[in-house]
Symmetry: C2
Subunit: 158 residues, 2 copies
């Protein structure tokens, strides 16, 4: 239970309680979840001034790169379901970052576009995200990082 257990124990003031993990810390799922938690916390802290979550930022990113994209396409590309994407877009629209425009060629669709405010926010976010990324990727050599990304993509295959 070396790794993060001691770090957290230090954070709570109590020194390592010598917990028995019985293999839990050797599970891939456990390690992925811990890594995601660590990056998520740093992400939220990094973008606190912009008040964006990971998914909100990723959504702005994709809309910015694909103006007119539909909600389901963004949802599918990010591994989310459309109901969740709905409320996410609702919030981004409410904050004036995104516009919904009914498609003329397929009137079921909502075409998504960034407002100027959304573009500005996305640009600022990209800067913050780059710094956030650097804090973690700096821990690896380039070849290690490439292997890590490749492995994570293999895990994410569904």
């Amino acid at each position: 239970m070396p790794e993060s257990a001691s770090a957290v124990a230090r954070k709570t003031g109590t020194e390592a309680e010598e917990l028995e993990f019985e293999g839990l810390s050797g599970l891939l799922g456990y390690c992925v979840r811990r890594a995601q938690g660590a990056m998520h916390r740093d992400f939220v802290a990094s973008l606190s001034s912009l008040d964006l979550t990971q998914k909100q930022a990723a959504t702005l990113w994709l809309i910015g790169a694909n103006p007119g994209v539909s909600q389901v396409t963004v949802a599918g590309s990010l591994g989310m379901d459309r109901a969740t994407m709905m409320s996410l877009i609702d919030r981004l629209e409410q904050r004036g970052f995104v516009l919904r425009k009914r498609s003329t060629s397929d009137r079921r669709r909502q075409e998504l576009h960034l407002t100027p405010a959304g573009q500005t926010t996305l640009r600022k976010a990209k800067t913050k995200i780059a710094e956030h990324e650097r804090r973690f990727t700096a821990r690896f050599k380039q070849s290690e990082l490439a292997a890590l990304l490749s492995a994570l993509r293999k895990v994410a295959e569904e």
Copy 2:
């Protein structure tokens, strides 16, 4: 008909939309989040018969391996805060899996123990988790997996 868990997966498969990612998919944080999402969905599906989340299972696991452990210690070891751990323990206690016992040596503490029902559930969960793990770890050679786990622990360092 709306099939159970594969709704998201099918949507991803349906996507011949060729989205422009503009570097998003090259970000470590994005890959970690996607990997976590994929494993989380499979975990929930795998343990649907037991109705346990990742954190609930991990909590049962740690209590089972460390009878009498305190709430903050479990929370710290799993990277959660104590308020969240409270409601998590509340639920496990309500379902008859966990017992709180005031410590005699430090009366601030609640010592956590598994009930027989909790032990049974944990045993079943470990079997399901092993199968779930195998579905993902089977994608890697042993050396690749070791490198992946090592890298993820490095990411999780805080």
